[in-house]
Amino acid sequence: MSISVTVNEEENLVTIHIIGSFDFSLFNEFREAYSSLPKTYKSYVVDMSMVEYLDSAALGMLLSMRNAIELESDIRLEGANDFIKNILMISRFDKRFDIQ
């Protein structure tokens, strides 16, 4: 599977791991990953260390996630390679997400 979710109750943290191409084909699966959890967590991490390519549809999916999760919770985008980090910075996603 291209998306897997791990929940760390102790740290109040959810990590969404994405593998391969982060694009429109993951639309429903990605939404499911954060919306099917029984409660809201304090921190969310989208682990992109295994993502090879990201298109503008994926940017839209991240924005949709940001809108769906309460503002008090932070969303960290982790492990993006240089190519993907550049796409995130061109669209100024640093204004809405914590990019690491």
């Binding site: 429109f24 639309f27 503008s56 549809a57 940017l59 839209g60 999916m61 924005l63 949709s64 809108n67 061109i90 669209s91 100024r92 996603f93 204004k95 809405r96």
Partner: protein
Amino acid sequence: MKLLCVDSEPVYREIISLCAESVGAQVKSVECFDEAIHAFYDYAPDIVILDVIIKGGSGIDLVKKMKAMAGNRFVPIIFLASQTSDAVMGNCFRCGADDFIPKPFSEILFNIRLKTHMRHVELIKEMYRKNKALTYYQTMIEREHEMAHHVLNHIQTRSERNSEYVAITRLSAASFNGDLALVKTRSDGARLAFVGDFTGHGLPASIGALPVMQAFFDAVDDLLDIGKLAERINRILISVLPDYMFCAGYLVLLYPNGKILYWGGGMPNAFIRRSGGKLDQLRSNHMPLGILPAREFDAGLQSDQLDESDTLVIMSDGVLELKNISEEMLGNDRVEAIINSSYAEKSLITAQRTAEKKLAEYQGESIQLDDITLLALRRTCLN
């Protein structure tokens, strides 16, 4: 699942019926060639079991006939016979049979093999159903893409024609993404340009393009400040599009004296190729249009100066991500080299053609995945 049993011996007809019914098949038994042909037509079985020797004809001929009647439909035909020489069995398979079970047979093994064939029939049926559904959706999507092309091409016709001051190149990808490039000269002589790249594909992308086009041409008529236009487009897209869709873009206003004001969000760097060969970069430093609510939207403009024979070049990310035959993206360095050499040319129309040719050369035989938009502007001569 319907099974047709063709056997001239009543005992076998009975045993086969009992076995087949025990694994959940519905059975019709017949005893001669002609009955079998009729039953194949009327009863439309999913599986046929038959003997090599049948009253009124041969099993081999029967199989040939049934396979011809079945056409594209997958109907496994299984021989159940006491003639088990290699020659007979070989003959049976050659005429189109799918399996051969020797008589007398073990009920347990017969049932297992029958179940296997029934499973294959189910799988093939499922495959047909899915294939039909996929064909339907594929046709629908192709039509939507055609529709989107049509809408965007219509919008595009309202833009200014290419000249020695304006050159627009748009190359649509096979999987259509929704780039938009508009240029129009205002009544005060200033030229307004918009290069936009919508998220998403096909029809959804073109839905956002329609109101944006309207706002653009209204702004040309009303000499609207481009910061205000950016705000307006942002507001329109926030209300029209769902939250996962937006539009990256540059809005540029080029005055007759060469002064440039611009707003950029979510776009790759644009370039000014100075007449001396130096390349300056214009940065888009905002989030794309259609993301931030009005109260957070930043309409802050940047400015620059375009002198005579300088060229302002804006492109969508499809240019940077253009792949050659070995899957290598064009990238920033090669883009800079192409711009620098192409726009050294005095005539803008020739320069644009040269740039197009260089992009096509790089791409070679590989497939273009994203839309490509390349806009070049030069200031109008004052004299």
